[in-house]
Each structure stands twice: as C-alpha cells, then as structure tokens.
Amino acid sequence: MAELTVQDIIKPENLVYKKTKLMTDKALSYCPGCGHGTAHRIIMEVLEELDKEHETIGVAPVGCSVLAYEFMNVDMQQAAHGRAPALATAIKRLWPDKMVFTYQGDGDLAAIGTSETIHVCNRGEQIVIIFINNGIYGMTGGQMAPTTLPGMKTSTSPYGRDVHMMGNPLKMTELIAHLPGTFFVSRQAVHTPSAVRKAKRAVRKAFDNQINKKPGVSFIEIVSNCNSGWKMTPLDSNVWMEENMFPYYELGDIKVDGKIVDKD
C-alpha cells in the first residue's frame, strides 16, 4: 500500500472541521492557550447556524477583546470601556429585529461598566451579553480585576488579593440573575471539548431567546484562563482554573426561562 501524503488527506470528503465564515481570516491576536478565540468561534458558529450573518450587530469592549471586531465577520461597533450595554441598548431599541450582542471582559463588565451592566439587565433589554471572566486585566498587563480570587497575585495585588484591603471577588452573574430583567443566565467554560459543546449550547439558547423575543437579557459568563496574566503554561492555567476558579465561579445554568435554577 502506498504511503498517504498530506495532499491525499486534504480533500473535501475528509473534512471534519471547518472554520465558520463568520470568523475572518485574520490571525487572532490572543495569546496561545487563551480561551477568547474559542469563545469568539462558538458565538460566530451559532450566528451562522441561525443564518443571522446579515442581521447581527456586535459590540466589542475595551480589554483584550477590544479588537474582537477584527475577527468577528459581522457588523461590529467598538465601545468605550464598560459602555457596551449602553450602545447595545440603543441599537436594539432602534433595530428591534436585529441580533444584538456585547462581548465584554471582567474589567469592562464588572468594574467600570457595573452601572451599565446592572441597568441593561434591569431594563430587560432583549440582547445577548457574553462575559469573559478570567480574573485579571489581560490587555493592560495583569492587574487585579473585580473577579480576581482572594489571595491571587496580580501586578496590582503583588502579595495576593487581600479582601480586607481590596474587596471581594464580584459574582456579577449571580447578582444580575436576581434582576427580573434577565431571562437566561448561565456560567460556562471553554477549556475542554465537552465544555465547549456545553458553552455553545448555552450561546445558542441565548440567541434563540433573542430571536423569539423572550423578555430580558440572555447573559452567558465564560470562565476562562489567562495563562499570560496568571504567568502559567496554558495547561497549568487550565488546571489552576478548574481547581481555583470553578469552586468560586460554579459552572452551570443559574437562571433559565426567567426562573432561578434550584441547585438543591
């Protein structure tokens, strides 16, 4: 039997995975091992599956994903730090039949944009919010985030986060889940194939809610790693995330169809 060459393998009938056309060809600017790229991809796959390429307006934040618009191949706006929910509110109110989503990190959504986050959820705008929580400010070089865990070292908590001095990690997702204006609230991860599948199902549900004009915000937190900011290898950062982040930021649905999920 003749030996297989690469050319023999690269054939349409052998294709098992294809990049969605709703991701551009531009190389991702994220660090190797970071969860942002996967999070981008599942959102764009969902929008392609829903055939919403021409009906979507996304809002990028300030932070690592400030350049999300370079990679997401739909109409995109770039917001001031923390203000993406305000932009999205106006876009959705003025174009109620469009798919509108924001993509925000923890500094953007849970620190400087706390007011916008709370009020967009309280008004029950029919938008999707994707919240990437990696417990650190990645873009500016590893400073403390509102979601940084107690004791966790960052460049602005070099001796570990002292909660008496620096406050506690903010569970924004639990906070907004209790507002009547949120319809679907879920916390997911994208560090393993099965986590990615679950996260994608949640993102799909969020956009389905928007298509079906369900009352309120669909809010997906994705707990992610920041191997550069945490100063670990990608593999170690994922292990550290499972051991430290997940116990504090528990994965799973928090609110479904407007009702808080009973965990007991």
């Binding site: 390429e53 021409h54 009906e55 979507t56 307006i57 809002v59 990028a60 400030v66 350049l67 618009y69 191949n73 739909v74 109409d75 995109m76 706006q77 770039q78 917001a79 001031a80 203000r83 305000a86 932009l87 999205a88 509110t89 106006a90 876009i91 109110r93 003025l94 174009w95 469009k98 007011s115 916008e116 709370i118 009020h119």
Partner: protein
C-alpha cells in the same frame, strides 16, 4: 406659516426633535433642562412617529446610547446641563473619533462643579475647544431665542450627518426656561430602515449581502494609520470652517464699537445697543451662531473698517474673548465683560462696561 405656539426653549427643542424625524432620544434629568425629556415622555413620540425615548441610568449611558444608535445610521439626540455634559465628554471623544452623527444639547448652568442651576455661558471652552481627549471638534450652534431652539435641531442633524460629526446645541437656563412665540416647522418623516441603509453605507445595521462587514471604532493601534485618520479629521474640520460659519450682525454698518455676544448675552446686548443709541453711542452687535466654526472673517472685516474696540460679552469669566482677541490680533482694543456663576448681566451693566472698558469714559 407653521403652527404658532408659546413654548419654553426646552419644550421647543423636544418638539423640534420629534418633527425633525429624530429616531431616538436618550437622556437623564438635570435642572434646568429636564423639560426636554419630560415633554418627550408626555408627548409619546413613539405613537406619533415611532421615535424611541429612553431615560438612561446616567449621562454616561446616554451619550454611549447615542454612540451605539448613531453608529447604526439613526438620528439620535440627547440633552443635559453642564455637569451632565462633563460626564459625556469621554463619549463625545469616541463619537468624534468614530465619526458618528448625533445631536447633543447643553442647557448651560453655573459652575464649576455642581455650581448652581441658574443660566451661564461658562461651558464655551468645553464646547468649542474639545472637552474630551484627542484632537477633535464639535459643530456648535448657539440659539438665542426659543424659535432658534426649534430651528437649530434639524440644522444640527443636517450638519451632523453631512459631515459625520457630532453637533452640539449650546444654550443656557435662560433660553431653556423662557417661553416665547415659536413657529414650528412642518414635521419631516423619519427615514425608513431601507432608506437609512441606502443613504449611510457606513452604518452598522447588519452586514449587507455580498458586501464587507462595517466596523465602527475610534481605535487604531498603528500610530501612522492613526495619524492618517487625524489628517482626515482635520481636513474635514477645515471644510466645516470654510463652509459652515454662521453669524448675525446688527447695526454694524456705521458702528464705532462692536459687542460680540452669543445666545442669551446677545439678546441682552441688543437692549444695551438700543440704550447706547439713545445716548448717541454707535455700537453694533456681532452674534456668532456657530461657536465652532467661529466667525473669524467678520471680525477681520470689522477690524479693517476701523472699529475702535470690541467688547466680548458672555456669562463667563471670559472664554470667547480669547477667540475674539486671536482674530483681532492686537490691532484694536478687546475686552471681556460678563457676570457669571449663574448671575445674568443686565443691559445697563453691559452698556456701563462698554463705556468704561472700551470707550474709556
């Protein structure tokens, strides 16, 4: 002739927004401009024209709603008063950088800080010199009557869309709270979504089939490209300076002296000019209608004509006077007069100041 009504400046502004085909108003209450959002909420423009009205959680949110809504090609507007406008400066800088049309009205009150709620004109620097970060300009219109509070809304929208640049209407508590006769213009229908898509191909309202997606951003991390973007902005600002200067001149033809005043101060100065005339003093009024672009040429022409002195009258400690001085270029006397912190100068005080500071009596 349009419909005649007795209205407050703030109400005329709100009614004009509906009639101008505004798609969305996003605002936050603050004295002395709360009548704008109160009027809109009572008037239910969403029933009249489909216009969206939303009370935001802050001025910060309001201006960013304008950023988001304006970036989709819709006509969006907000209004506030000085402290609230300060909160909007970050958003205005982004909007100017991303070249998004929108209209912001500032019903100025006394400052600094929380100041008071009485009329002032002390936000001139903030309005015309760029209150936020970066090299940018706002197109700034200064109404001096309730009629102009109505008329300048469609004008501001037109200029804003013509140049893809935020436009600001700078007025104050006096004009906002005052009622005058206003002839309302006939309503213009809102553009349909299809019309918006056709007219504004840059707008992000869903990627068109067979075309590239649109991106609205003020970010470009490459300094050379960012510089090029700034050149583009500066070229646009130069076109605006060439084509959009608006001003009014009263009794300037045989004047020995000129009062330069805008908005409320221009109204007060008109009375001062009448009082001066009765005393045999020949004073004219130059009223800038666009504060930016500033009417430089008429000042040069007046200097050429041999005007003996300019008195810049504003309810501030002296802000516009710097622009007047710049244009006069030391060729004749330029002085500032004005009460401020919420105090309004009287027509008599202005005349006294003219006599003392300019004529030298």
């Amino acid at each position: 002739m349009g419909e005649l009504r007795l209205m407050k400046g703030n109400e005329a502004l709100a009614e004009a927004a509906i009639r101008a085909g505004c798609d969305g108003y996003f605002g936050y209450p603050i004295t002395p401009q709360s009548e704008v959002i109160e009027y809109l909420m009572a008037e239910k423009p969403y029933d009249r024209t489909g216009m969206v009205v939303l009370q935001a959680e802050s001025e910060v949110a309001s201006i960013n709603m304008l950023y988001g809504g304006g970036a989709t090609g819709k006509k969006v507007m907000t209004s506030s008063s000085s402290p609230g406008i300060s909160l909007m400066q970050e958003g205005l800088s982004y909007i100017a950088g991303a070249e998004i049309p929108c209209v912001v009205a500032n019903v100025v009150r006394g400052g600094p800080g929380l100041g008071d709620i009485q009329p002032a004109q002390s936000d001139y620097f903030q309005s015309v010199k760029g209150g936020g970060h970066g090299d940018y300009r706002l197109i700034v219109l200064a109404p001096s009557s309730v009629q102009e509070m109505s008329d300048f809304v469609p004008l501001a929208f037109d200029l804003s869309f013509k140049y893809r640049n935020p436009a600001m209407i700078v007025t104050d508590g006096l004009i906002g709270q005052m009622m005058e006769k206003v002839e309302l213009f006939d309503p213009v229908p809102r553009l349909t979504d299809e019309e918006i898509k056709e007219k504004y191909p840059w707008a992000t309202n869903g990627k068109p089939k067979g075309k590239e997606r649109r991106i609205i951003t003020s970010l470009d991390l490459d300094p050379h490209r960012q510089e090029e973007h700034n050149w583009h902005l500066q070229a646009k600002y130069q076109r605006i300076e060439e084509d959009e200067v608006r001003y009014e001149m009263l009794q300037c033809d045989d004047a020995d002296y000129i009062i330069v005043a805008y908005g409320s101060s221009a109204r007060i100065a008109q009375k001062s000019i009448q009082l001066a005339k009765a005393e045999g003093i020949k004073v004219g009024l130059l009223r800038p209608i666009t504060l930016w672009p500033f009417p430089k040429k008429p000042i040069h022409e007046l200097v050429e004509k041999g005007i003996k002195g300019f008195l810049s009258v504003e309810m501030s400690a002296g802000q516009m006077v710097e622009d007047v001085k710049l244009e006069v270029g030391g060729q004749t006397k330029v002085e500032h007069f004005g009460r401020y912190g919420g105090v309004i100068h009287s027509p008599e005080e202005v005349l006294e100041a003219l006599k003392k500071q300019i004529i030298g009596e």
